[in-house]
């Protein structure tokens, strides 16, 4: 059972089925995940930051996405355009003095290269999915195009709370722009799954479970064999519940 360590310290009640992940368990889950990926030739690799213990899982795929034609000819500085960022309906901005607005253009389905990274977030103690997408000519997709590429089944859920879902962020290790599925709701869906697994004495690999929920939303497929073939990392007895020393990372 994956349990976040280091927090029973202030006498607050802590459920057995914690939905949080410490970094060591994250690495162990990734290692097991990676082994299965190699056996399937599923394309995942581990990228290590030189001189540090930090790293992330990475995979690139080719998929289809909804892209705009004539992207370069538009002025994206229009203020009218922006409120549409999280809405899927497009409005006519004929009276916009700044010129053409991107939402009027026709969309088409084209081949898109996706790059996915799975990182660990110390702040949220969960994994986080970063990704970027570009056309085969190397043009990066904008947020609207990424939104359009999200399967209709998932769009409504994401629309509810715009600033909790897909946003553009700086990659914590590379410093480049990526899209991110915000991690602050991870607890909500992981908690019941982990609790049920505990009660039913089932093994759960946190990364597999988590990725099977968030991956498909952004076009990342997780073959079913991951769920049956990838074990939980061996449970190490948690260290005695002392408060972490000042200056060390949580967990």
């Amino acid at each position: 059972m994956v349990v976040g360590v280091g927090d029973g310290v202030r006498g607050t009640h802590r459920e057995m089925s914690s939905c949080f992940l410490d970094e060591e368990t994250f690495c162990q889950c990734c290692q097991l995940f990676l082994q299965h990926s190699h056996s399937l030739c599923d394309g995942w690799s581990w990228q290590q930051v030189k001189g540090s213990e930090e790293g992330y899982l990475r995979k690139t795929t080719l998929g289809t996405g909804r892209t705009r034609c004539n992207q370069d000819q538009q002025g994206t500085s229009s203020d009218q355009h922006q409120e549409r960022t999280f809405s899927l309906s497009f409005h006519d901005d004929d009276d916009d003095d700044d010129g053409a607005v991107c939402c009027i253009q026709e969309e088409s389905s084209s081949v898109v290269q996706y790059e996915y990274h799975i990182l660990y977030s110390c702040s949220y103690q969960t994994p986080v999915l970063y990704f970027r997408a570009s056309t085969l000519e190397g043009r990066s997709l904008c947020l609207e195009e990424v939104w359009d590429s999200v399967h209709p089944n998932y769009r409504q859920r994401l629309q509810h709370r715009p600033w909790d879902t897909i946003t553009q962020q700086e990659h914590p290790l590379l410093g480049q722009s990526f899209f991110v599925l915000h991690p602050c709701r991870t607890e909500e869906f992981m908690k019941p799954v982990l609790k049920a697994a505990l009660e039913e004495h089932r093994q759960v690999n946190y990364i597999v479970t988590w990725l099977s929920v968030v991956g498909p939303v952004v076009g990342l497929d997780v073959p079913l064999s991951y769920c049956t073939q990838v074990p939980e990392p061996p449970h190490t007895p948690s260290s005695s519940p002392q408060p972490p020393a000042l200056g060390t990372k949580p967990g």
Partner: protein, 211 residues
């Protein structure tokens, strides 16, 4: 917190005199004069530069204008870093006013986040607040606040209203000693020499076992 009020005010009202110059290769109908502005340290470039945009748009044709972005001595400025931080990282050793170059073309896609509207800045700001509270209070304070409280926090920043902002922010800065205070203190360290460097990443088949 009462004793800190003066310090809080000084931090909030910190300003950086800045000179905005249009990039020489931008296409203009006539020469563009530089534009001077006092930038608030605790805000974001894209939030406070509407006047800059309006100023330069006067001498440009609409079709030559795309998303505005800034550079300092050739380095694109990340709008999602607070202005004071950008100045301290890039220009603290240079003479005032801070000279920033304005661009309307060739947006550096890999390096900069897009900022099509203020909602994006708001989302980014609130995301940072949430992350900080995850560390301080396990997100309890931010989650207990209502949507209108979140909005007030943002509006306080957007409209440069110290009292409005701190009316909400003080809840997030509460440090109840009887409950052990902050769980963790959130802070970010920015290393100057890492700024333009890309960390060296290599493929590894093995994930190192933990310390």
């Amino acid at each position: 917190m009462a004793d800190d009020k003066d310090v809080l005010r000084d931090v909030w009202f910190g300003r950086i005199p800045t000179c905005f110059t249009l990039y020489q290769d931008e296409i203009t109908e006539r020469e563009a004069e530089p534009f001077y502005l006092l930038l608030p340290r605790v805000s974001y470039l894209t939030l406070v530069t509407d006047k800059v945009k309006k100023h330069f748009l006067k001498v440009m044709k609409a079709e030559d204008v795309e998303e505005m972005w800034f550079d300092f001595e050739g380095t694109p400025l990340k709008w999602h870093y607070p202005i004071g931080l950008l100045f301290d990282l890039h220009a603290s050793n240079t003479a005032l006013p801070w000279s920033i170059t304005v661009h309307f073309k060739n947006f550096p896609e890999r390096d900069l986040l897009h900022c099509p509207s203020n909602s994006v800045i708001e989302a980014h700001f609130m995301s940072s607040i949430k992350e900080a509270d995850a560390l301080k209070h396990k997100s309890q304070v931010i989650n207990d606040m209502q949507k209108k409280d979140h909005k007030q926090l943002w509006m306080g920043l957007q409209n440069d209203k110290f009292d409005q902002f701190w009316a909400m922010n003080r809840k997030l800065m509460e440090y109840p000693t009887e409950e052990g205070g902050f769980r963790y203190i959130p802070f970010r360290i920015y290393l100057v020499n890492e700024l333009m460097g890309i960390p060296r990443i290599h493929d590894s088949d093995e994930i190192p076992s933990k310390r």
